[in-house]
């Protein structure tokens, strides 16, 4: 059954890319994958526990005494001890860790010193902004990166290939924050094509009702086209710069996968049979790499969350990365660990989901 679906989706490759998903979503719900799902949940929970242990450990190795920062250095020994006990720091580490896990499971990440609000609330407020930027970024990366990779592989060794290869390596060598600054200097200050740092022009700030937290979506929902235009003109530069980094990775991987396929015998067979070259490349060879590409796209989507830390700082984008770096400057450890935890959790989840998708969509890996 599996192989039938697979070849069926291969035939539809040129026309409907989404056709593959509709069929396979049904398969995810199927009985044969129940075992996979159970294993998935166990693995994800264990990794989350590891992640919690890691943030707990980071919280404990801080050289700054958490008690001292509350009582001040003039406190008497009794006051110091009282606060230490009140904070639960006198308990054994294992007990402290257990209560930390319990807190996190109840979405209690402590209070932020700088915003004076629960960290969990802060994170829920800033996360959509990051998601918005990363989603536009990955779209740019996929739409440009895959054709670039295919093109490079189809023209292996020619100047087209070399240019794409070097460009892809540049994606590994250019600091994101530097590209952001240069982008601002050129496209905002120099050419005036886009708006500057921030999410929207200051006089439109806060007038759109929050539905999704993503301003470009919310302004469309409110049919407020002035705000929409302003929001797009603010997001386009940081999102494109993020996109360039995922483009580099996606193009590199696509090229490598395609080269593997183009050297296979079935490709020679297709050519011998007289299939036109575009068909050999886009239907035969590309059809075979769609599944591993899903993993690559998942990985680079997760990596964008990381890249957004630097980009958000440069563009004063009110997302989770900016929240994290602001918290760093204020020595707001609850906020730092909370943001680390959320970014880590999303990262793990995306990675594991693309892992499972790979296993479900590729019959050979079962």
């Amino acid at each position: 059954m599996a192989s039938k679906t697979f070849s069926g989706s291969k035939r539809a490759a040129g026309k409907a890319y989404t056709g593959m998903f509709a069929k396979d979503v049904k398969r995810i719900a199927g009985l044969d994958t129940l075992g996979t799902m159970a294993g998935f949940i166990v693995v994800v929970s264990l990794t989350f526990l590891g992640l919690l242990a890691l943030t707990f450990f980071i919280g404990r190795v801080i050289p700054i005494d958490p008690v001292l920062s509350i009582v001040g250095d003039r406190a008497t020994t009794e006051q110091y001890e009282a606060v230490r006990i009140a904070m639960g720091l006198d308990r054994p580490l294992v007990v402290q860790f257990a209560s930390y896990v319990g807190d996190v499971l109840r979405f209690d990440l402590g209070m932020s010193v700088s915003t004076n609000r629960p960290v969990a609330q802060d994170l829920a407020r800033v996360f959509p902004a990051t998601l918005e930027m990363a989603t536009i970024g990955i779209t740019i990366g996929v739409v440009l990166g895959i054709p670039a990779g295919v093109l490079a592989a189809a023209n292996q060794g020619t100047w087209v290939d070399q240019v794409i290869r070097v460009f892809a390596l540049l994606g590994y060598s250019v600091p994101a924050f530097w590209l952001g600054l240069v982008g601002l200097a050129v496209f905002y200050a120099g050419l005036g094509w886009v708006s500057g740092p921030g999410r929207v022009d200051i006089f439109y700030d806060g007038i759109t009702p929050v539905v999704t937290g993503m301003l470009t979506v919310d302004s469309v929902l409110a049919a407020d086209w002035t705000v929409f235009r302003s929001a797009v003109s603010h997001i386009i530069l940081p999102a494109t710069i993020l996109g360039v980094f995922s483009l580099a990775y996606i193009a590199r991987m696509t090229r490598s996968f395609m080269l593997d396929q183009l050297h296979q015998e079935y490709v020679t067979t297709a050519r011998v049979k007289g299939a036109p070259e575009w068909r050999v490349i886009w239907v035969h060879a590309f059809g075979a790499i769609r599944v591993p590409l899903i993993t690559v796209i998942g990985l680079s989507y997760a990596a964008l969350l990381e890249g957004s830390v630097m980009i958000e700082t440069v563009f004063s984008w009110p997302g989770i990365g900016n929240y994290l770096t602001t918290a760093l400057f204020n020595a707001d450890m609850n906020a730092v660990l909370g943001a680390t935890l959320v970014i880590g959790a999303v990262f793990i989840l995306i990675n594991k989901i693309s892992d499972v998708l790979y296993r479900i969509l590729d019959p050979r890996s079962r």
Partner: protein, 299 residues
């Protein structure tokens, strides 16, 4: 001529000759790979620049002169001057030392650590393997930069702590590679033979497993260098890495951030240095992989 014949001998008489011959063949292959050659030249240049900084740089990296603040690039100041009147070109030259120190220390700390953990894990298998790889996977499942940020924040700002934070996030990938190699090596006949001769586990791991992991390790470490440089620069940019007045490239970009629209050269120039050096490591890493790992040629 005689030396070349000795190096290319098909049946080397000693271990030293075999090793030298292999190194010679690898370097020949590298020379034929244009990208790798460019990469090697860049890294050689970096090392020379770092070593000869006082002779190359026209001024000291910390010499302030407020009468010539923010002078644009000219024949006198090739990259202009910064907000304290320091010559940016001189600072970029001295910055090579900081960068080289960071990548060297990170490699020296994380590669042996990952190698050892991975080799022990793969060689012994069972629960040792499960526990060690569990820890490794937790580290691997975290985004590197964010993890390094959190560690650097906890340890406090400073170049030593930045190096430790980066090393902590780098070793797991090496452990994975070493484990994969160790898994295949431990079942080979020569390991079984050595064990029959009465060799201890320590001896087998250090003398037989570890040396065979090195070539894949060298490739990976070289490819990772660009990432390490970028992370270090990022930490410096956020104020968590090298502290002023140390001429670290990331911190220099950060200090030029407020002048980016009018005095673009302050933030831009150190960025070019980062790009060139990172590209150098990428090129060399790619070339090394083509040479040492023939399976992946041209990818």
């Amino acid at each position: 001529m005689q030396l070349q014949a000795w190096l290319l001998d098909d049946s080397p008489a000693s271990r030293g000759q075999a090793a030298a011959g292999r190194a010679y063949r690898v370097s020949l292959d590298l020379m034929r790979n244009p990208l790798a050659l460019v990469g090697m030249l860049i890294i050689l240049l970096l090392i020379l620049t770092a070593a000869l900084a006082p002779w190359i740089a026209p001024e000291t990296p910390v010499g302030q002169d407020l009468t010539r603040r923010l002078v644009p690039p000219s024949s006198e100041h090739w990259m202009g001057t910064d907000q304290l009147g320091r010559d940016i070109f001189s600072r970029v030259i001295y910055g090579a030392r900081v960068t080289l120190l960071i990548v060297a220390l990170v490699a020296v700390i994380s590669a042996p650590l990952g190698l050892l953990i991975g080799a022990v894990s793969g060689y012994f298998g069972g629960w040792t393997d499960r526990i060690l790889m569990g820890v490794t996977d937790v580290f691997l499942s975290m985004p590197k930069l964010v993890l390094a940020l959190a560690f650097a924040a906890a340890l406090g700002p400073g170049i030593e702590n930045a190096i430790i934070a980066i090393a902590i996030t780098t070793w797991p990938a090496y452990a994975r590679i070493a484990r994969a190699e160790a898994l295949t090596i431990r079942n080979t006949e020569f390991v079984a033979a050595t064990r029959l001769l009465g060799a201890s586990h320590t001896r087998i791991i250090t003398r037989q497993v570890l040396p065979l992991c090195t070539s894949s390790m060298i490739i990976r470490v070289t490819l990772d260098m660009a990432g390490i440089i970028l992370t270090a620069a990022g930490l410096g940019f956020l104020g968590l890495g090298a502290q002023p007045p140390l001429p670290e490239w990331g911190a220099m970009i950060s200090s030029g951030r407020s002048f980016i629209f009018d005095q673009w050269w302050v933030a831009t120039m150190p960025g070019f240095a980062i790009i060139v050096v990172s590209l150098g490591f990428c090129f060399l890493g790619d070339g090394l992989r083509d040479v040492l790992d023939p399976k992946s040629e041209g990818k």
